[in-house]
Symmetry: C2
Subunit: 243 residues, 2 copies
DNA sequence: GGGGAGAGATGCCGC
DNA sequence: GCGGCATTTCTCCCC
């Protein structure tokens, strides 16, 4: 343990990523309060001073501090504690150490950003490029006009010159999506002083309840799948190739 | 590298957590498509076979596979690749390794769950225990009856025997909270054939727009702060104490 | 630069 | 397995 304490103190602010496994208790106070009883966890502290406590299962860290925290190790009542605090966010994380299994540090050089396709914005883009997938005669507004309406995904006119608001969802549209669309339609009606504004949800799927509420409100739905520009699926090999 | 490959193969399905740092490229295909160019990252694979790729900064993993994936290491075009695939979810993650800096495995024993205070459920609990914080004469329904109505936070009668639906929000209530409350009230009105059902939002704050919409719909608001049982803030010391 | 408000994404829980 | 909701969120826009 003393090895770990000395090493921890020389590591602080070294710019290295730190990772260690330990038997510990964890306490958090900030936006919520939590306590995690004694058990084995993996702790990672990044060069940006974010802290991540992981249990052996589960997708999310059981506790974490965001970047900009300050870390110290100190003895409290005969027990070593890693104290991570974030004055601005009024948050504090305490990791009470009972046994440290291993520890390791590493300098990581990485400035690259991930490139993603298949988002909601890609769906809107696709509808702009191929408005006929909504319906014959549908004409989106120019992108310049569109930006004035901010949060609406796609905005245009149908063949009868009715305004149409389209809300895109990457996956199954739910009740929330319908109430959202309804708010937008009512907002546009009001600001334009219009009587009729159509609302359409574009998504690969829609839940039964959402479909019902949509129809109750006189809105429509189009089955549209988000584009996956990077994907090249080779069925014969049952694997994925890129570029 | 060959050490790592051999070690990786003996580690697979050992029940240990695995962590390594490497210079790598990462490709993902599944719910979306992504590509991350060459750089240094930390990779963690848990005993539940979830995979987490972390860059040296950022709160979230840049890529991850959820529990139940299958991991193999294989040589592709002269380069070693960790392939993680999830047949059910039709997801695949490829980590192309250029250099491995360190690797470590550890058996972690942990069955404990985190205890959180200050959630929406805690607020509902508090209202059950102290119904007078809503208003004099308010009587919540028993928890058993309450479960019949599903996801409504608190449900009861006021002094005039009107039904009251209460929606709790941990922080500032927004437009979404109001539309949610409205859905619940309308649902109850319909299923009970009632003319008058009151709706109340309980939250520490409420946005101006939400307040307005709330009043337009004849609903009410009570300023209620989520309980933080674990917190004891010692102002004189400007630090936190627990228990 | 800090705070507020709205929208988005993802995990989790219950049916 | 799916639907619905919560969240230790994120981001942008405003001041």
């Amino acid at each position: 343990m003393q090895d770990f304490v000395n090493w921890f103190r020389s590591w602080v602010n070294s710019g290295c990523l730190l990772v260690f496994a330990a038997n510990c208790e964890v306490r958090y106070s900030g936006r919520a309060e939590s306590y995690l009883p004694k058990g084995d966890r993996l702790v990672m502290i990044k060069p940006d001073n974010s802290v991540h406590v992981h249990q052996p299962s589960g997708n999310m860290p059981v506790n974490h501090m965001r970047e900009g925290a300050q870390q110290v190790i100190e003895e409290v009542d005969g027990c070593w504690v890693v104290r991570s605090s974030h004055a601005v966010n009024k948050e504090e994380l305490l990791i009470q150490l009972h046994k440290v299994y291993f520890f390791q540090e590493q300098l990581l050089d990485d400035g690259k950003k991930v490139v993603v396709a298949g988002t909601e914005a890609d769906m809107a883009e696709m509808i702009y490029d191929h408005p006929e997938i909504i319906e014959a005669g549908f004409t989106p507004l120019s992108r310049e006009e569109h930006t004035k309406y901010g949060f609406i995904d796609v905005f245009g006119f149908d063949g009868d010159n009715n305004l149409v608001v389209i809300e895109c969802k990457r996956q199954t549209a739910d009740l929330h999506a319908v109430t959202q669309l309804r708010r937008y339609v009512e907002k546009i009606k009001q600001s334009k002083g219009l009587d009729k504004v159509r609302g359409i949800i574009a998504s690969p799927e829609i839940s039964a309840n959402a479909k019902k509420m949509l129809e109750d409100w006189g809105f429509g739905w189009r089955r549209i799948k988000p584009p996956k520009f990077l994907e090249k699926y080779d069925k014969s090999q049952q694997r994925l190739d890129y570029y």
